[in-house]
């Protein structure tokens, strides 16, 4: 299978994301200005500071020509994963529910956290067991997941919480310890932690590979 990894001006994790994808299949980096995403089977929107995070994190990237193609791809059921800034972009684009606020501590965070797989049915979690805890790093300043009470209830009721921080490990004040969510169909997933940085024992964990393996399973 072939993963496409988006690159915006200000992206910084697209190379790691492509390396992670290459452990499962082929990977191609797609420039934000391209109107086509080619013949890829899955899309990863990586972390970083797209368009300098001007105005609000993720708010400008959603207007990129490549994002229009990604939105069409997602609508047709294609697997799309947003990591960190990519998660923020998907929320701003309305492809995922909720929004990301500055960390409660107001500090930049960089640490390994445990995240529990809540929904193991999505295109990016089906290689996991429900309830399994993955060890994956977070690194962000704007990662406090928020949804207004009504929307939050709907997210919980429809099983759209994909990941929760393990008990006591919520690093940023996210509501209901939510680390990642999925869309209703389950093909679009976003999370603040960085699975692409947890694909080699050298950096302490290979748990992140499970997300990329999941996409391969979803397409099989």
């Amino acid at each position: 299978m072939k993963f496409g990894v988006l690159r915006f001006p200000g992206s910084c994790d697209e190379v790691d994301a492509a390396h992670a994808c290459e452990r499962i299949g082929d990977a191609e980096i797609i420039w934000h200005g391209d109107e086509s995403i080619g013949d890829v089977d899955a899309i990863v929107i990586p972390g970083g500071f797209s368009y300098g995070d001007y105005l609000r994190v993720g708010s400008i990237a959603r207007f990129a020509p490549a994002m229009e193609a990604v939105a069409r791809f997602a609508q047709e059921g294609g697997p799309v994963l947003g990591i960190c800034n990519g998660f923020q972009v998907l929320c701003e684009a309305g492809m995922l529910p909720g929004a990301l606020l500055p960390n409660r501590s107001l500090r930049f965070l960089c640490r390994q956290v445990g995240i529990e797989v809540v929904d193991a049915g999505s295109a990016w979690t089906r290689a996991c067991e429900p309830g399994e805890v993955l060890s994956i790093p977070v690194k962000h300043t704007t990662g406090c997941f928020f949804a207004p009470p009504e929307q939050l209830e709907a997210i919980e009721a429809s099983g759209q919480v994909a990941f929760r921080y393990a008990p006591g490990e919520n690093p940023n004040g996210s509501v209901n310890d939510i680390a990642g969510v999925r869309n209703e169909a389950g093909n679009v997933v976003g999370l603040m932690p960085h699975p692409e940085h947890a694909v080699d024992e050298l950096t302490g964990s290979v748990d992140g590979l499970r997300l990329f393996e999941s996409a391969a399973l979803a397409l099989a």
Partner: protein, 74 residues
């Protein structure tokens, strides 16, 4: 026309920036200041002002977490 849009965190939404400013003030001798909220202000020239609300909802503010207010300047 020249318009000014004020964007602020919605009531009840945690505003860590506002909190940080609030905590800093007493250390500078400014006592008795509370409920500090930090937002942003955007000024723009627009031909068709009837499109302003839509423009604010679609880009300048995120209606899930922010309120906006349009002020026409001239």
């Amino acid at each position: 026309m020249l318009a000014r849009v004020l964007i602020r965190p919605k009531e009840g939404i945690l505003d860590p920036q506002g909190k940080a400013v609030e905590r800093a003030l007493p250390t500078l001798g400014f006592e008795g200041v509370g409920d500090v909220r930090v937002g942003r202000m955007v000024e723009l020239e627009i031909d068709d002002e009837s499109r302003l609300p839509e423009l604010c909802e679609k880009l300048l503010a995120n209606p899930l977490i922010e309120d906006f207010e349009i002020e026409s300047v001239e």
